[in-house]
Structures are given as C-alpha cells and as structure tokens.
Symmetry: C2
Subunit: 143 residues, 2 copies
C-alpha cells in the first residue's frame, strides 16, 4: 500500500531504498544545523555523509535559495528528480539521482568534499539521535 | 493501546520513556559487538552510552552468564527490574532501575567507567545505523 505522500516524499522514499542497496542508511528531514533541513541524509558504512535534495519540479528547484548552505554538511551532495525534470538546470558540480517512489538510480556521482572529523562526529551523533527519536515515536506513540 | 509485549519488553518500554525524560534516546536489542545483544542502549546528549538489561524475574537474572561482557561497551551499566524483583541479588557495583511498562525510575546510579574515544565513535555510528534501519523498516515495510 502506498501511503499518501507528497511528490518530494515519494522521491525521498525511492532514494532511501536505493541508498540502502549501497549499504547506506538514511533519515528524512534531518537538521544538520539551526535553520537548515535536508530532505535525505545518508550515512554510509565508513561514516560517509551524503545529502540528497528532492525536487519534484522546476519551480521547486529555482525557488530554492538554501541548497548551497548544505554543501558544508556532507561529503557529497545530490539532487533527486524524476525522469521528467529538466536536469540540465542542475549544476554539473553536484550529483544527480533519478528517482520515483519505488527506487532510484545514481546518474552522476557527486564530487567528494569531505567534512572535517569533528563535524562528522557531531553529525553522526545528531543523526543517531534523530533516527532513534523518530523510531521511538513510531514504536511508542504515547511518548 | 498496549501492544503484545513480553515481560522484558514491557520493562524496556518504560525504561526508554524514562531515559527520554533525561534527554537520552535509546534503541532496543542493540548489538555492540558480535555475539552480544543488549536490551536497551541509551545515548545521551554528550554522547554518553548507557546499557540497561531488563530482568523480569530471578531466573532471568541468574541464568544470564553474559552481562559482564557488556560492561566494556558502555559508560554506565544498569539493571531494570520490576518492583517484585529481589533486587538484593544484583551487584551493588551496577546501576538499578525499577520499571514497569509505563515508566521507570533510577534507584541507584551506575558508576561511570567511560569507553575509549575510538570505541565510543564506533558505537555511536553503529547506534545510528541500527536506529535508522529499524526506522526505515517501519516507515517503508517493503524495503
């Protein structure tokens, strides 16, 4: 059964499935720092941090003035779009994932720009807290 | 609504609620290292790692030959038991939590024996993976 998801959330679901096939886990709507909220934060087996922003249409992308602020909070930055999206709009210096609600595919690997060790440590702890809190909310809704 | 939980899982649920009130998040059935599985692993705001083993009766405790192996994987080690448990059986060098399915209370704070930084880093990353994977399984059961 398909839950009632927004277009961007459908892309995020497909992205999360695909990341898992790469050995990554991920969370949605992760806040790396105050005022920032990324659609998908992936965590790889060696502590790699990938941000994936999901754009369901052109305006969704052109109206986004924040994305460059996310670059400092990940090792690789990707866009996830559907097959109809005019992907030539997207900067070639970022990664490209084509997704739907069921799966995704990395079309262009993002260049790597590794975050510093202290920031990585803090982000992974924040990721752990985010995931555990959401999990607890789902398992024990009376919390 | 109370899901159909085993006695130990009920204690774990109360423990998780109480830890949250202390600013901790937690996961259940966490595997810190091959062959070990702890009932509750709590993660504190400054990266503190607390293990809580839940014992629903005397035999559950006396038949446990593994618990000392958990001491190396946390900063503080606790037992969680219900009010009927003969708590004098439990070593005084460990922490004591009295719990039920709804809440818990720390009766005796466990002594602190901090894990080394490299191990803490690895454990927090493992905690993040565990929590995110369980969360993903619940949110998208078709994964």
């Amino acid at each position: 059964m398909m839950p009632d998801l927004q277009p961007g959330q459908k892309l995020a679901r497909g992205v999360a499935r695909h990341l898992r096939a790469h050995g990554f886990v991920s969370v949605e709507e992760f806040v790396p720092a105050r005022g920032l909220r990324v659609d998908v934060m992936g965590l790889g087996p060696r502590g790699e941090l990938w941000v994936v922003e999901c754009k369901s249409n052109r305006v969704d992308f052109t109206s986004d003035s924040k994305w460059q602020g996310y670059l400092d909070w990940c090792d690789r930055y990707f866009w996830a779009v559907d097959t109809d999206f005019p992907s030539e709009l997207l900067p070639e210096t970022t990664g490209l994932i084509v997704a739907d609600a069921y799966d995704a595919e990395i079309i262009r690997m993002a260049p790597e720009d590794r975050v510093a060790p202290a920031r990585r440590k803090a982000l992974i702890q924040k990721f752990a807290v985010h995931a555990a809190r959401r999990l607890h909310d789902l398992r024990d809704p009376r919390v």
